[in-house]
């Protein structure tokens, strides 16, 4: 009998609000309204109307979203294309990495322009765009319309520099404050056997993503990327689109990287070690320094110190570059190419835009960031706070939320508080230091190109990008000499349409972000 009572009570609790309580203030429609949504994200997540989050959304807004995406499919991009190709559109389409598709097919007539709707029915979105004009510009299509509402991350910091404090202490060194000290420290890591095993097996700098190696050119005052992705375009102070790998400065930076690589300061296997580099090299007490995400990297202090005595990894403020300036290219993007859009066949555009707006309101943000109130979080002093059971579970908090149906890449505004509440203290210390230092250079969110611009870009850019990656790697490995091959490299860029690509992007940039 006792066993029966608990589920009975629970189900009663869950159904009471819908049946007994009168109209919620957040209701979007007086009559229950059903909308179909295609959401297939990150190759595995789909919208499921039976998850707690979807039910809570129904209770709060009186809108029920029914998922139409194939639950067993494992390729989101393919599912999107398939759904478009059948011509049988749902009311809403959502997912990750769909920005270009939303804009392209929006201009071809598959999605409704949202500008007017936002203006008339979406006060939260309107206020958000007013305070974040760069996000609005980044999602505006070449025809001036907005076709989708993006996922907007919150918080400033993404990756940072990490160094072995126990090794520094052992060798009597201080945390390096500039490029010269950094060189001395890495050299000492290599030469002076900080792990004390008598072998010269230390790997001073390594990274699990080989392309992050190029971030090191920052220390010679050069750019390596313009966005949080590696090897991306950047925009200079005069509003000119440029590519870091074609800059004269890059020659200087990469020459030094090659020197560091030859001296053994950079992991000799950096290009093949990949994903498990941190586990391998920290675990074997061989790795000294890396550039990576805060939360996951800080976690190694707990896991590795059990096997490596005295292991201590600390966040390091970016050492000043050759010109004495501290700066960092990587920060958290204010907009991801994820989100949702309204199809032309949607018969309830007003209700739909109100739904989009809901996820930029406090209640909607709490729902999407913290899950269901009373189930995964409580309100304390007007703030959402995760329940202890959620924080102390053996499952990571974000996994629990994904399972509830929250955090899916619909158009919403992240709340950094959600992440802060379960970030470990060592990482928080680094994040706060980086946020306070505010060494970030602005990110470039890319351009939305017209058909003709896109054609130029598609024709030339993939080849050029391949060539750049090829040459950069050869220079670092020392198989090609940067001083001897630089002119040939520049000539080849010129002859393979590099300037046409830059011009296409520049035209798109000027239209989208305004000429400066």
């Amino acid at each position: 009998m006792k066993k029966m009572i608990v589920p009975l009570l629970l189900s009663a609790l869950l159904t009471v609000p819908v049946t007994v309580l009168a109209k919620e203030s957040t209701w979007i429609s007086d009559k229950p309204l059903t909308l179909k949504i295609h959401l297939h994200a990150r190759d595995k997540y789909v919208w499921d109307e039976n998850l707690p989050m979807s039910k809570e959304l129904f209770r709060l807004t009186n809108l029920q979203l029914i998922g139409t995406a194939n639950k067993t499919a494992t390729n989101s991009q393919e599912q999107f294309n398939l759904m478009m190709a059948t011509g049988n559109l749902p009311d809403i389409v959502a997912g990750d990495s769909l920005k270009d598709n939303f804009i392209r097919y929006g201009m071809e007539g598959a999605f409704q322009p949202l500008n007017k709707l936002i203006d008339q029915h979406a006060p939260n979105l309107k206020a958000f765009f007013k305070s974040h004009p760069e996000v609005q510009r980044a999602i505006t299509a070449p025809d001036g319309n907005i076709y989708f509402i993006p996922y907007v991350p919150d918080g400033k910091v993404s990756r940072g520099w990490w160094i072995r404090k126990d090794w520094l202490d052992k060798l009597g060194l201080k945390e390096p404050q500039n490029i010269h000290e950094l060189y001395t420290v890495l050299k000492a890591f290599r030469e002076k056997d900080p792990n004390g095993n008598g072998k010269k097996d230390e790997i001073p700098f390594f990274d699990k993503e080989p392309e992050r190696l190029y971030n090191l050119v920052n220390f010679w005052g050069c750019r390596s990327t313009g966005s949080d992705a590696a090897m991306d375009f950047f925009v200079d102070a005069n509003g000119k689109v440029r590519h870091p790998f074609a800059e004269p400065c890059f020659k200087e930076g990469i020459r030094n990287l090659a020197k560091w690589y030859a001296e053994g300061l950079i992991d000799p296997e950096i290009y093949t070690r990949k994903n498990r580099a941190r586990e391998q090299l920290f675990g074997a007490n061989q790795g000294g320094m890396t550039f990576d995400w805060f939360a996951s990297t800080a976690g190694f202090n707990d896991s590795i110190s059990k096997t490596v005595r005295g292991f201590k990894l600390i966040p390091l403020a970016p050492p000043a570059d050759i010109n004495g300036k501290r700066w960092l290219e990587n920060s958290r993007a204010e907009m991801r190419p994820d989100g949702w859009a309204m199809t032309v066949t949607n018969k309830n555009p007003v209700e739909t835009i109100k739904l989009f707006d809901f996820f930029f309101s406090r209640t909607g943000r709490n729902l999407q960031n913290f899950g269901v109130e009373g189930y995964s979080y409580d309100m304390k002093n007007g703030k959402a706070v995760f329940k202890d059971a959620v924080l102390k579970s053996s499952k990571p908090v974000n996994n629990q939320l994904w399972e509830m149906g929250a955090l899916l890449p619909i158009g919403y505004w992240m709340d950094y508080e959600y992440e802060r509440q379960w970030t470990n203290p060592a990482a928080l210390q680094g994040i706060e230091m980086y946020a306070k230092g505010n060494w970030f250079v602005p990110l470039f969110y890319g351009v939305n190109m017209k058909k003709e611009e896109r054609a130029v870009y598609d024709q030339f850019w993939p080849d050029i990008q391949t060539y750049m990656a090829e040459m950069a790697q050869n220079w670092v490995l020392g198989t090609k000499n940067v001083d001897k091959t630089w002119d040939e490299y520049q000539a080849r860029l010129k002859s393979s349409g590099f300037h046409a690509v830059l011009n296409a992007m520049q035209a798109a940039y000027d239209r989208q972000y305004g000429k400066r």
């Binding site: 991009q77 999107f80 294309n81 478009m84 190709a85 011509g87 270009d100 598709n101 392209r104 097919y105 071809e108 007539g109 598959a110 097996d201 000799p268 296997e269 290009y271 093949t272 870009y457 598609d458 024709q459 850019w461 993939p462 080849d463 391949t466 060539y467 990656a469 090829e470 950069a472 790697q473 050869n474 490995l477 198989t479 393979s496």
Partner: protein, 323 residues
Amino acid sequence: MEEKLANMASEPAPFVMRLRGAWRGLVKDLRRDYLLYLMLLPTLVWFIVFLYMPMGGLQLAFKQYSAWKGIDGSPWVGFAHFVSLFQSDQFLRAIGNTLIISGYSILLAFPVPILLALMINEVQSQGYRKAVQTIVYLPHFISVVIVAGIVVAFLSPTTGVINNVLEIFGFDRVYFLTRPEWFRSIFIGSGIWKEAGFDSIVFLAAIMSINPALYESAQVDGASRWQMMTRITLPCIVPTIAVLLVIRLGRVLEVGFEYIILLYQPSTFQTADVISTYIYRQGLQGARYDLATAAGVFNAVVALVLVLIANRLSRRITRTGVF
């Protein structure tokens, strides 16, 4: 005149009769062997559904594809995709690399399963034979991701077995996976390790089907085992070898991209970048199905020509062919 009249009168008759005859023959066959035809049916359906019906989609190669407008609604662009492919140095390089890698693997990897089958066939002890077969088949069932992981670990410049051995013999350590000159050897070598055993099954089956009477009479004539292998076994499986070689030639431009993507580096693109990996990278810039289809059409045309040539050669030399 008479002849002409006779022709006019008699010509349709044999044709209609032949047709009728063929139809009757078919009906008779169907009635007699309906079970066999029933077993053929799924394969026929599979061919029609998965190979013939999608052929309509090949028009994508000549269109600017938009998923929203659909295959029929997308505008025609003529040979634009082919032009842009052939204007790219990297695509031409990829064709070259594909041909070289395929050529080497036909030359080096194709004979290995044959040799393996011949050797396994000569083993007398049943237990030993089974053990060997199991060991050589096993790698086939390992996912390429794992195989690539094993290859990376073995070739690691700091901890890899190969480099440790090299060092013992006084050679320098080599970062193999970033050296373009090593890529093909690594790719083909590990490919042989993975697939040779499994591919030998077909040849073993061919050997099993050789009439034992041939060996018995050879034994009576006092032939050595070597002679029996070169004079009986090998000639008897030549038709199988020829057919498989023709099929293999048809796939000359298909070098699977998964395994290459797992092993290659920008610094080895020079020798490692093949058509499929090139298209894969192009596609990353935004699902360019039209361009990929154009490359597919090109592949198919080349493959068709190669198969026709190979088949003709095979017919001339061994009197067997696929068709």
